[in-house]
Symmetry: C2
Subunit: 136 residues, 2 copies
Amino acid sequence: MTTKQRTTKQRTAILEALAEQEDFRSAQQLHDDLRSAGQAVGLATVYRNLQALAAGGQVDVLVTDDGESIYRQCAEEAHHHHLVCRECGSTVEFQAPELEEWTRAIAAAHGFTDVHHTMEVFGLCPEHEAGEAPSR
Amino acid sequence: MTTKQRTTKQRTAILEALAEQEDFRSAQQLHDDLRSAGQAVGLATVYRNLQALAAGGQVDVLVTDDGESIYRQCAEEAHHHHLVCRECGSTVEFQAPELEEWTRAIAAAHGFTDVHHTMEVFGLCPEHEAGEAPSR
DNA sequence: GAAGACATGACAATCATTCTCAGGAGCCGG
DNA sequence: CCGGCTCCTGAGAATGATTGTCATGTCTTC
């Protein structure tokens, strides 16, 4: 099950790049980051590793509204959710025991089993809460 | 803000196609559906109208794991969530007042403003809850 | 019925992501 | 330490969904 995986310097580099990041980053951003850092890693490699890491639960994935996948190395190992600033991308992790229970209850009420859910919260962090409607 | 919109037969056709559907459909699926139904509508038009309808709150949009946008005409006008069977795609709508409040609370606790959230639940509906691990 | 405004449709253009394939680098037994 | 085999990497091509372009069609209003 646990697909055999080697320890290559590219993989290590990617993990380190993720470790230095607070925010969610797209594969492409990460690729740029690595380039800038002098670590020339192929784009395809970044994608492959990111997927592998995500599959192994070592990083969290989110799909943005426009269908881009973004990755982040999270502090919590356990299931948790995110509060993300839609301007600067800064992220707060939080857990929601009530939500979990509550979800289970709703699912059960409709006879659904083997449930899992996605829930993310987007907003403006204290630093960006100004009342203007900028870019989009 | 309310962009002026005409009543064209294409738009009508799209709405009808959506009305006949219980499940979420992608733009391309809808396009095919229309084609099959004899209503030859341009793909670009389907995309445009879907977006317009979504913006106007007349249809709901969901972004799948692989970044595809899927649309559905929902019964509820108000904000609500979905419980979707990952085998057959059948969907149950539900509201979650507690969740809404609760989300606001968490956001506030971290100083976030202008918050909105996404939350969808996936599972196996009563008809598919068998213990086998089929396709994927 | 005519003019102007917006919608449509076919196709090109984008963009993120995946595939392909040749060359390179870990890992294991000797 | 060496050979060999397998997995990984990297560059670019290929894919697939979505968006842009622009000439033409169709409402609406007068």
